[in-house]
Amino acid sequence: MTDRRSDLFPILGVAVLALGVVGVARLMTPGPRHPADSAPGRTAKRLQFGGYQVTGRTVTIDAPRDRIHAMWRDPRQLALFMQDLVAIEGTPDRPIWVIDGGHGPFRIETRLVEDRASESLAWRSVEGADFQVEAKIRLRDAPAGRGTEVEAHVAYVPPYGLLGHWAAKLRGIDPKTRGRQELKRLKMLLETGEIATASNQRNT
């Protein structure tokens, strides 16, 4: 695995996530001084950060970090747990994600901007892409031998602004809902070897 630290934090989204938005915001606003909040920035009550919507989720998966890292680097494995992923084109360093958007597929051309073995991965949409997004996976050991805490951050500019954001949320296709479901499918796959379904027919 390559170490791509030089590409780290190219945009506000990731920098803010790393520092903790709440802390930053509070340092900049006058008024009674609050101690820095330990919560991740994406749990802040504000809705947007410099035009970016910030969301994410942590799921504990009972599997070693390197195994989870490998799942994210393997397009065939990704297709198993990212249900909306139609295909991955391009190269491993510049993957183009073809996503089923509900009204036909859309393409997001990205660069792999971070890849640290057993620790983290991040992709960022290239300049001029239709959809501005940065996604980061962080892996750390869970306490008490519970496996790995897998944290996914997504910072993106919602198409059609906030209205588009809420419309997508209502249809359950916003990045938050999708991201949460993808992490849970990955968990099922690694912990049980299969993805749960209530269907009792193979072709539905």
Binding site: R146, Q181, M188, E191, T192, E194, A198, S199, N200, Q201
Partner: protein, 389 residues
């Protein structure tokens, strides 16, 4: 195949539906030989549990013969198995802690959203129940797809009648866990609200665990007689002031532990219950929690409260003050069936537990709609219905 399907409040029918197939590697297909109607099926029948869809196959108490296995199933064709109503992966944090009904992986991700919103966390998967718990097709059918068949099903020796072991699927371990949640010490007094199947098995279990006295509370004469037959003292709440009687029967202390085996559709004419009933009828997700309120009032200071009865939403006028000021401990949950299977099977084989006393009616699967109607309308005589395809 033929299956009992839900179409709305008080509307269940026998339908012909496609046979189930092996979908995932750990699946098995079971040909059902016996299945039962459960008290919690009545919550579905009465449409007070949200998240059912027209055409859903009901039933979560079933057993049968293995007819097909996926490549990762450990079952063998021809084996007889009882299937736990809780679907559990066996390998997540919760399953490893034997909290099988809290399994993180059995409820498909799409159906985890509702309970994550309603309860703060996604609940596990159950057969033949709400889509909040996965919407898995149930066991009141000729065949069932059983996921994680290497973890759940309890293999039963040939020669043991179905009726002796069928209730390992739910109500027997549910009654057992209800009593276990009371942390019974020798000589303890335990009061049980509700002499339905779970309440009766809780009575039997509490006595086996060393309770000095078990007091069962109901209003159906036949169900009270069954409780008395197991060795319980009984109170008919239509004849007696329950709280006063429990105090007098326990030397003025109150029972050491109480069990609410009634759940969200409690009967009775108490004012709080009438209000709850009205709210449930207009469909705002309120639970009728009269039995639970009584139990919290009755239990002694520092006592234990066990809630096997099913609740789905909110209750108000909950005696939170009694809970805190008396220093009560509350334990609840869907049953961790897989935790108890082999131990309870042994106790049945040794003759320590009888399960067949409960069965009042035996019908064919085709007669299931009649079984539902009577079980709902005549709870005094219809204590348990077993269906055979």
């Amino acid at each position: 195949m033929r299956a009992l399907t839900w179409h709305g409040k008080h509307d269940v029918r026998m339908d012909t539906v496609p046979d189930p197939q092996i979908v995932n590697p750990r699946d098995a297909i079971i040909e059902v030989t016996s299945t039962a109607i459960c008290g919690s099926d009545l919550h579905l029948y009465d449409a007070v549990i949200p998240g059912l869809q027209g055409g859903d196959i009901l039933g979560h108490e079933f057993m049968g013969r293995v007819v097909e296995t996926g490549p990762k199933s450990t079952l063998k064709k021809g084996q007889r198995v009882v299937v736990p109503f809780t679907i559990s992966c066996g390998s997540c944090f919760f399953c490893k802690a034997t909290l099988f009904s809290a399994c993180d992986n059995a409820n498909p991700v799409e159906t985890q959203e509702a309970s994550e919103l309603l309860y703060g966390h996604a609940v596990g998967g159950l057969f033949g129940y709400s889509h909040m718990t996965g919407g898995y097709p149930g066991g009141q059918a000729e065949y069932v797809r059983v996921p994680y068949s290497d973890v759940g099903p309890i293999v039963v020796p040939d020669g043991v009648p179905d009726e002796d072991v069928l209730f390992l699927s739910d109500i027997l371990p549910t009654g057992w866990m209800a009593a276990e949640n009371c942390d019974i010490l020798p000589g303890d007094s335990v009061a049980v609200w509700g002499c339905g199947p779970v309440g009766l098995f809780a009575v039997q279990s509490a006595l086996l665990m060393g309770a000095g006295r078990v007091i069962a509370i109901d209003h159906h004469p036949n169900r009270l007689a069954l409780a008395r037959g197991l060795g319980a003292d009984v109170i008919d709440y239509t004849q007696t002031h329950v709280l006063e009687a429990l105090m007098e029967m326990t030397g003025g202390m109150g029972p050491d532990a109480v069990i609410d085996a009634v759940g969200m559709e409690s009967h009775g004419m108490a004012p709080d219950n009438l209000l709850d009933t009205a709210k449930q009828k207009v469909g705002i997700g309120a639970d009728r929690a009269h039995a639970l309120r009584m139990a919290l009032m009755a239990v002694r200071k520092g006592g234990r409260v066990s809630i096997p009865g099913v609740y789905g939403g909110m209750a108000d006028k909950f005696p939170l003050g009694a809970l805190m000021e008396k220093g009560l401990q509350v334990r609840s949950g869907q049953t961790h069936v897989q935790r108890y299977g082999s131990r309870l099977l042994d106790m049945i084989m040794e003759g320590k537990i009888d399960t067949t006393f409960l069965i009042s009616h035996r019908l064919s699967l085709e007669e299931a709609p009649r079984g539902y109607r009577n079980f709902a309308d005549n709870q005094n005589e219809w204590t348990k219905v077993v269906l055979t395809p």
